[in-house]
């Protein structure tokens, strides 16, 4: 089979990502700042908001974003690069980074959306630079993780867990 596209986020870069998200959460007083892969997988989350099912949140937000891009296509719009979901108490701003990642800011009514937009844009530029480095280092980092033994062990675990 052909090699799958995969992205390997190394330790140092994850620290950089977390730092950028943490600063954004602090500056916007956001409950959560998330970095998602466009397929809905959560890469990193920061913020001191209430405990939430961030895995499901990531899947749903990525789905909504992906859906909006299909809407853009029907309208003949080149792209929708951001979505703003406005709630009575909490709102969500989602911004696309490159063609691969989504930056999500969950903030409450005390923060003005204009501030979130400006600071999210700034953070996205920083994250895009990190993403470039992650892409370049991906193949090498992958070799360190995925071995034949690893694949065999995963295969055995799958057999063990999912029995008829």
């Amino acid at each position: 089979m052909e090699q799958l596209t995969n992205l390997v986020v190394a330790e140092g870069e994850l620290t950089n990502i977390a730092r950028t998200l943490g600063r954004l959460a602090l500056d916007t007083n956001a409950g959560h700042t998330l970095l998602l892969d466009k397929s809905g997988q959560l890469i990193s989350a920061q913020g001191s908001g209430p405990q939430r099912d961030l895995i499901a949140l990531g899947a749903l937000l990525a789905g909504a974003f992906s859906s909006s891009r299909q809407v853009a296509e029907i309208l003949g719009e080149r792209d929708f690069r951001a979505i703003y979901q406005q709630g009575a108490y909490e709102s969500i701003y989602t911004l696309m980074i490159g063609e691969q990642w989504l930056l999500v800011v969950v903030f409450d009514k005390q923060t003005h959306v204009g501030l979130v937009k400006v600071l999210a844009r700034k953070a996205s530029e920083e994250l895009e630079r990190i993403l470039q480095r992650v892409r370049q280092g991906s193949a090498q980092a992958r070799e360190q993780v995925v071995s034949v033994q690893f694949r065999d062990s995963v295969s055995n675990t799958i057999d063990l867990l999912f029995q008829d």
Binding site: M1, V8, T15, D37, V154, I158
Partner: protein, 191 residues
């Protein structure tokens, strides 16, 4: 796109169940949710209409636990099967690592299965992926129907690539885990 998070020691992959309306995609996920060990899955989320037809997708996170120090997770999704949701299916396929095509064994659904499979191939091609070289398995669902199309016929018309195919009855669970095991292993094989 599989995500390998070295710092958090996590591997995440996305699997999509594709197929026509009422072919049993959601039933597959319900069975997995109800019968896999509780520690191996999270909560199932469905975005459905009032009469429980899938509107956007179903989502079920699967957790294999820690293997060689890495937590391995699969996110299972279904697409809405009805014809009008074609664009929604494209949205759900975004970033997929493996596909299960669930075919309905009813004779009157044979042509619809075929059209749906062509649509899947087209959507994958638009994303730059060729099903011939991609983790892909098929499931012949509803084998309990008295007039089910013979497996050999389904194989001849729908499985030109000769990928692994599993007879199933998702309501009783027959073939559900065999399909899941096969697609998870296919995804891991190319990670």
């Amino acid at each position: 796109m599989a995500l390998i998070n070295v710092a958090n020691r996590e591997i995440q992959c996305k699997i999509v169940y594709y197929g026509t309306g009422f072919c049993g995609k959601t039933t597959n996920l319900h069975y997995i949710y109800g019968h896999a060990p509780a520690r191996a899955h999270g909560a199932m989320r469905s975005i459905a209409t009032e009469n429980e037809r899938t509107l956007f997708f179903d989502f079920l996170p699967i957790d294999l636990g820690t293997v060689h120090g890495f937590r391995v997770q699969f996110a299972l999704y279904t697409v809405p099967g009805q014809v009008l949701y074609e664009r929604t299916r494209v949205a759900v396929l975004n970033g997929v690592d493996g596909v299960v095509f669930v075919a309905d064994s009813s004779p009157e659904k044979l042509e619809e299965n075929f059209q749906n499979l062509i649509e899947l191939e087209t959507n994958m091609r638009r994303m730059g992926k060729d099903l011939g070289s991609f983790p892909f398995v098929m499931q012949w669902n509803k084998r309990d129907l008295p007039n089910a199309v013979p497996v050999a016929t389904l194989d001849r018309y729908l499985n030109r690539r000769h990928v692994p195919a599993f007879p199933a009855c998702a309501t009783t669970g027959e073939g559900v885990f065999a399909t899941l095991r096969a697609i998870c292993k296919a995804v891991m094989a190319v990670l």
